[in-house]
Symmetry: C2
Subunit: 377 residues, 2 copies
């Protein structure tokens, strides 16, 4: 699909969801929703919270992006929006620029979807002051439901970064030798991901008792024989993300380790058998929990996985706290995880895409992980 085609597709999908929600305008402020809408990330948006970056779709045709002056050139060169407006960071209130745009679009008294779960209170108060006859409703579900179903362009990006991550995870585990530090492994993974084309990477490594910490930032601890080793790689390429986790044992697994692993993988395989349009995500989660509990394992997290796309965690969370039903082109991870704090931890995470008939794995095809991986030469 051409760039212009992908552009039209995202705008069209969002306008459709906006209308279905009975709204006249759809406004985004968050990094994820603005980046999704505009098709590019304003560099200082995630790092400078005072530089509001806003997208506005209204009615049939109105489409504008509002950025701080200093980002205007890049936005005009890169954004999907032909209409890029600016405000001065020190002199103007971006909420006024937004109110002006909504009035110009003819929806100043309309029903306007804004990110009430992100829009700062003072911007909201200012908007209400400027547009006293408008009705403000949450934009959350409009974006969630639209972003959940990926376009062909998004699937290509997710597949590219996922495949790289799957390969790198295998290569890094193959390179493990006792005596290497967690940080050395993380560096190796980072370099391979950057070499593969990622703009950013995050790598978690936990070995030995540290494998039992959920978010284990790598340390100088040396990998030792007998360690359980947990490696999680999160890539960022062309604004789309990957999330792959592997657990290995340095040397031969114990019976206990093998048994726990078999339960985790058993639960995952049961869930995979349910992956098709029509399956509620809550059913996946319950299948997972039931299988673990039947084997005397209490799951550590209250979700089995999460949607993945422009952000690492997005809808649908695979949990019984969500009533989402699988549809084609939903992309998500499943990540059976069991932490035994002070002892060890187990975690395997792969990315999947729902198809009209079932699913395809995005990762997990390069290095088999049905059996607990042995590393260490």
């Amino acid at each position: 699909m051409t760039h212009a085609g992908a552009e039209r597709e995202v705008f069209q999908k969002l306008r459709r969801a906006m209308r279905a929600a009975g709204c006249d305008a759809l406004v985004a402020h968050s990094v994820d929703n603005v980046t999704y809408t505009a098709g590019f990330a304003v560099p200082s948006h995630p790092t400078n919270r005072f530089r509001r970056t806003i997208t506005v779709l209204a009615g049939q045709n109105f489409a504008a992006q509002i950025v701080v002056t200093v980002e205007a050139n890049l936005a005009r060169a890169t954004s999907r929006f032909a209409d890029v407006r600016t405000y001065d960071q020190f002199g103007d209130d971006p909420a006024d620029a937004l109110a002006d745009a909504l009035i110009e679009a003819g929806v100043g008294e309309g029903r306007i979807a804004v990110e009430l779960d992100y829009l700062p209170a003072q911007d909201f108060l200012r908007l209400r002051e400027r547009l006293p006859r408008a009705t403000f409703v949450p934009a959350r579900d409009i974006y969630f439901s639209t972003r959940m179903i990926k376009t062909a362009d998004e699937i290509t990006r997710l597949t590219t970064v996922g495949t790289l991550t799957d390969r790198v995870a295998g290569e890094v585990l193959a390179a493990v030798r006792p005596g290497m530090s967690e940080k050395t492994l993380a560096r190796l993974a980072t370099e391979k991901m950057l070499d593969g084309g990622c703009s950013a990477v995050k790598v978690q490594v936990g070995s030995g008792v540290r494998s039992g910490i959920t978010n284990c930032a790598p340390t100088d601890k040396a990998i030792e024989p007998g360690d359980v080793l947990r490696l999680e790689i999160l890539g960022d390429m062309n604004q789309y993300r990957s999330n792959v986790t592997r657990t290995a044992v340095v040397g031969a697994p114990t019976d206990e380790q093998r048994k726990i692993w078999d339960v985790m993988i058993g639960a995952r395989e049961r869930c995979k058998a349910l992956l098709r349009p029509g399956t509620p995500v809550a059913a996946l989660y319950r299948t997972y929990v039931d299988h673990l509990r039947a084997n005397d394992i209490e799951p550590t997290l209250r979700f089995l996985g999460h949607g993945i796309g422009q952000t690492i965690h997005e809808e649908p969370y695979i949990t019984d706290a969500r009533d989402v039903v699988l549809e084609p082109d939903i992309t998500f991870t499943m990540e059976p995880l069991y932490m035994m704090p002070g002892r060890m931890g187990f975690h395997v995470e792969d990315m999947y895409r729902v198809t009209p008939d079932g699913f395809v794995p995005i990762t997990g095809t390069i290095t088999p992980n049905d059996a607990l991986i042995r590393v260490g030469g």
Copy 2:
């Protein structure tokens, strides 16, 4: 200073500023203010905007941090707060956990400083519903003014990361050879910064006409003889930041390039002569602008620099839109910058600290940059 001492110092400074503002409680939600208050960063706070992380100081003694359940163990092990409370990401509203804490602290009908410029509208609406007799006022200036004046511990961290960055910038420029790509240079800088102990790094490289783009992400473009080369390094070590920028020419500078550079450095030196307690930041900015305009250069940015600490950009911005007067232990950058889009760009940035008598440079002492740097072997 001991960890406990640094802890007491930050809490004491914030409580003092809270009382001076006539407030009974001080609540933070943003990554920067929460990290500053708690002394550690919750890993998923910056990446998952649905996981609210909150700090509360109230009255003489109440101090609590509110985190999502999955981050509780790490918070309890690392946070300055002895009282860490949790909420369930899928079942609870963190605004309720906050309201409960404020009631428990006895300030449910008090004057409560919240980040109106960050607190999501729906959390604000819920707080007002739960605490209808409370008064909510902006926390912005309380945090700005407190964070602007660094503690001894913060100055040590900034000096460590600044010195590393200054050294790495010099080493990377010394390694430049025509034919190397911008990305290769950026990778080299990244590796040296990580080797030096940074947990994260961002490197901008723009060469040739790309040096004239303000935020120039590195590309595969090869460095060529005659290129102006702009290298900006932003480090992150122990939750404190560095920001150093150098401009060099590959080979011999032209007369035009040398003349522009002399104007930029001339402006900087005039500003350095004013760096002492009592100087308004607006005076620095005007001195800079006046010197450039007197030499027929129109400055590209509307600020000369910015405070630096737990975040890259913080108060004081060095601009006439701020009425801050320099005080000892304010840390900031000055970054004369002049972009000539489509041709080339010039940018030099160093970090400074105000002392009782004047200032000390945090960076800019390792590799001289008064004259335009020549690189390329």
